[in-house]
């Protein structure tokens, strides 16, 4: 099945800056009905890719109905307008539409890809799925069973358990603290009416962001936007979500009889609109970011062979920011690994990065943007959504390198101190921790 999973990468798109992206010419398009989209027109390959995002994801789930947004993302292609589930699946198959829907914490998003010559049929079906989903009883039971199945599997999955533990400790009673995919009880409780309510609250014209790439002209796009999205309600009805200032320092251990212990940790972070965002992004890259020469990678994996993977990332949500990290290591070395990580946190907080490290990070983060984000039309469409979501400006792709260059060593040391001085929340899942050894 074609349903989407790539939640993590959506957040990362924003974080990785740009260099040689001059080839991307972005047009701002507004349809007759006032629906806006960013477009990169390109006819090299006969494809059209579109990404879209509605503000309001799982934080909009009603109390006691956790998992509603997630379930909604699986139900749009299970019957719409005059077609039941099988009829819709067959029509989608005939139209050759590649599509996915995804419920994140703050957004409900989707992406589609279609061959140009099939695009009329594909967009007509997308319109049905977004505007007139049926939520019939049979597919609803089937999708709920699938979601419950996944929940049960995760009951003994150390990574999921660590994720649950961190979420509860860090976000507590805030909507972010609730299980995005629901629990066995809440999934059971969700009805077709609950889906209808959430659908009508979230999918509206005033909270949608759209990015389109490929073989489509401005006029064709305008017509398509009006057709696919023009019939949605004018205004979304979103509950206010409070800001949350994350506090850390509380640890927990979940007992599970597995040979390898999963370690997750969290520190308070910052939001995307924070003036220090790029500084924090660079500092995190040096500490535990994506590349294979971060301090954590060096100390945990290369020098000591404690783990296959180790890293940290900035998670920037609409109402909070955190630095999240994790690794997995043999149960009798988990405590050793934690102590290595804590020593590195302390060293980064006290000394900050060196000028050489900062220079390397700047070079990587400038160069990697085009390589990671601009090589397929689907990825470019996601970038167009991210630019609008965070209000980065149409010239963002060209300006990005300048933001990176502007970060000084002094800034980096200050932000390193602010970010890494806090006492982390650490969640371990596995056998009882053993005393550290050298």
């Amino acid at each position: 099945m074609v349903r989407a999973a790539q939640t993590f990468f959506v957040a990362l798109l924003l974080l990785i800056p740009v260099s040689a992206a001059q080839s991307v010419e972005i047009k701002e398009v507004t349809s007759d009905k006032g629906i806006k989209a960013l477009l990169v027109e390109d006819y090299t390959v006969p494809l059209i890719a579109m990404s879209f995002s509605f503000k309001g994801g799982s934080v909009q789930d009603a109390e006691g109905l956790d998992g509603t947004a997630e379930l909604l993302s699986t139900m749009l292609d299970e019957g719409a307008a005059g077609r039941d589930s099988q009829q819709l699946q067959e029509a989608l198959d005939d139209a050759g539409l590649s599509y996915s829907f995804n419920a994140g914490p703050d957004d409900f998003s989707g992406s589609v890809k279609t061959i140009r010559e099939d695009s009329a049929a594909g967009f007509a079906l997308l319109k049905e799925m977004l505007n007139s989903p049926r939520f019939d009883e049979e597919p609803l039971g089937r999708m709920k069973a699938g979601l419950s199945n996944r929940q049960r599997q995760q009951e003994t999955n150390p990574r999921s358990l660590a994720g649950d533990g961190v979420r509860e400790l860090v976000y507590g009673d805030h909507p972010y603290g609730r299980p995005r995919s629901g629990t066995l009880e809440t999934i059971e409780a969700i009805t077709a009416d609950d889906l209808r309510v959430l659908h009508s609250r979230i999918l509206a014209r005033d909270n949608i962001i759209i990015g389109v790439v490929g073989a489509i002209s401005v006029d064709e796009l305008k017509a398509m936007l009006d057709d696919v999205f023009g019939g949605l309600p004018a205004e979304a009805q979103l509950n206010d979500v409070p800001e949350i200032a994350v506090e850390t320092g509380e640890d927990s251990h979940v007992e599970l009889d597995v040979p390898q212990t999963v370690v997750s940790f969290v520190l308070p972070g910052l939001k995307r609109d924070d003036p220090d965002f790029f500084t924090a992004y660079l500092v995190n890259h040096i500490f535990g970011g994506g590349s294979f020469d971060s301090r954590l990678y060096e100390e945990v994996r290369e020098k000591r062979g404690l783990a296959y993977g180790v890293g940290t990332s900035l998670s920037t949500r609409d109402h909070s920011g955190i630095v999240g990290g994790g690794t997995a290591t043999r149960y009798d070395r988990a405590q050793t690994t934690i102590e290595v990580i804590e020593a590195e946190l302390k060293r980064m907080a006290q000394e900050g990065p060196t000028e050489k490290e900062l220079e390397k990070a700047r070079a990587y983060i400038k160069g990697s943007y085009a390589i990671n984000n601009l090589d397929t039309s689907g990825k470019i469409a996601s970038v167009l959504v991210a630019i609008q979501d965070s209000d980065l400006g149409l010239d963002y792709i060209d300006q990005r390198a300048g933001y990176i260059e502007a970060v000084t060593l002094e800034d980096a040391k200050r932000v390193a101190r602010e970010l890494y001085s806090a006492d982390p929340t650490i969640v371990t899942v596995g056998r009882p921790l053993q005393p550290a050894t050298d």
């Binding site: 494809l47 890719a49 069973a145 040979p259 994506g290 390589i371």
Partner: protein, 460 residues
């Protein structure tokens, strides 16, 4: 000979970071693209290294890959995991380029890199700005012949690989069952040995084992260079001659000779009960020919059959097991891309109180229907259309195209095999599908696997 592209993902990767996750389950479906897509340039260097260049001028990026025709199935008995361990050790530096320097250069450019090991091949790749291609080629050519291993670093990396096994397999009962099923399905062929290695053997691997594998297989006449992206073929050719072209032949690996499977005589059942299992699973795999092994259209027929039986929500298996309310997920697949005998498989996870027996019966009923009545022309037409269409989507990714060529050539196929695939798949008839099903879906060729929850009371 005919050969198709792989349904296999990369296999194990050197780094946990998801630098490049295969986006499509069936690279086999993508060959159509290639025939219709960019003009591919191909030639062989004097030292025997094959080169494939795939132009894509849309973004300032080039994908540079070197594939070695050697994988886990080419290991010596008792040395399981050495192909993958060596793949990790290839990052430890050479006589002139110390460990970490290659990776630092890539990072300085904003590039990404990784490496992967499968049963049939091992590969290394970087994605960088086109201006850096020459440097990548120079560094990759250098580590083809000048690897230096230091004992101390090798031991830490062995622990890393051990943790990789813990993460993928030991922590996951489903993976443990899958490993046991492979060992049962392949009674003689090394595909029955896990790519990452058996734990007791991989923990004893040494520097000498790694160097032995390196010296035997890592040689230009056993390697393929793939360059995809914003490049001029003539310029790439010049660079390839100046870099890889200077590497001496280090060995004559010859034909890869692996022991054949005997004719299967007995259906096998593998069960794993573990207290960690929360959701049981039924699986059934049949020993099946790889695409490259058979004359005629048998491999392509199996691809079409797997699409009809298990390709998504309109497939026979989905309707019979999932739409009926008996399973939460179910499907069928064919791994045609392997060099040697491979598998055709089914799986289903029960919904509510459905038993695994019941799921097995339903899957067997679908198999019986195919064997008795075959498939319809309409089903075949839909399957072919779907296979072809998803191919066009693949044109969007230079890295996907690079993978298709690399995997095909590294498993013994040719450029022509890739490019002629659409014609072959389009020619599949109902008779082809029925004949292939008749030959493959015999119970004595099969292994059934059951993943079961061990009641807490039985926990030791």
């Amino acid at each position: 000979m005919k050969r198709l592209l792989l349904a296999l993902p990369f296999g194990l990767m050197a780094f946990a970071a998801p630098a490049l996750q295969p986006a499509l389950a069936q690279t086999g479906q993508l060959a159509e693209t290639i025939a219709a897509g960019p003009q591919v340039t191909t030639f062989t260097l004097d030292n025997g290294m094959e080169v494939v260049i795939i132009p894509d001028n849309r973004a300032p990026v080039v994908t540079h890959m070197v594939w070695y025709k050697a994988g886990a199935a080419d290991e010596r008995p008792g040395k399981s995991g050495i192909a993958h361990y060596l793949e990790h050790l290839m990052f430890k530096g050479t006589e002139t380029v110390p460990g970490g320097v290659f990776s630092e250069r890539i990072a300085a450019l904003g590039g990404s890199e990784n490496a992967f090991t499968s049963n049939d091949y091992t590969g290394y790749f970087q994605r960088v700005p086109p201006g850096a291609l020459e440097e990548m080629m120079r560094l990759e050519a250098d580590r083809m012949e000048n690897l230096v291993l230091e004992q101390e670093k090798i031991l830490a990396e062995r622990d890393v690989v051990d943790e990789e096994r813990n993460q993928r397999t030991e922590n996951n009962p489903g993976s443990l069952l899958r490993e046991a099923m492979d060992a049962a399905l392949y009674q003689n062929h090394p595909y029955g040995v896990p790519i990452i290695g058996w734990q007791h053997e991989m923990r004893g691997l040494t520097k000498d084992d790694a160097i032995y594998f390196y010296d035997r297989w890592y040689t230009p006449n056993n390697a393929i260079l793939i360059v995809a992206g914003n490049v001029e073929p003539a310029e790439v050719k010049r660079l390839a001659e100046e870099t890889y072209g200077k590497v001496e032949r280090r060995a004559e690996p010859g034909k890869r000779a692996r022991p054949d499977e005997p004719r299967p005589r007995a259906a096998r059942l593998v069960e794993l009960s573990d207290p960690r299992v929360r959701q049981p699973l039924f699986q059934r795999v049949y020993l099946a020919p790889g695409l490259s092994m058979v004359e005629g259209r048998e491999g392509e027929a199996l691809e079409v059959l797997s699409e009809i039986l298990g390709g998504g929500p309109t497939s026979r298996i989905y309707k019979s097991l999932v739409l009926s309310g008996k399973a939460t997920s179910a499907g069928a697949y064919y791994r045609g891309g392997s060099m040697d005998e491979t598998e055709f498989g089914f799986y289903a996870s029960p919904r509510d109180d459905t038993s695994l027996d019941e799921l097995e019966t339903l899957i067997e009923a679908e198999i019986a229907t195919v064997l008795a009545d075959g498939v319809t022309q309409e089903e075949i037409d839909r399957a072919i259309k779907r296979l072809k269409r998803s191919a066009i989507f693949a044109q969007d990714s230079q890295t996907t195209l690079a993978r298709i060529y690399g995997a095909t050539l590294a498993s013994g196929g040719t450029i022509q095999d890739v490019q002629e695939w659409p014609d072959r798949i389009s020619a599949v008839t109902p008779q082809d599908v029925r004949a292939a099903a008749d030959r493959v879906l015999k119970i004595e060729r099969s292994v059934s696997g059951r993943l079961l929850q061990k009641p807490a009371a039985e926990e030791g």
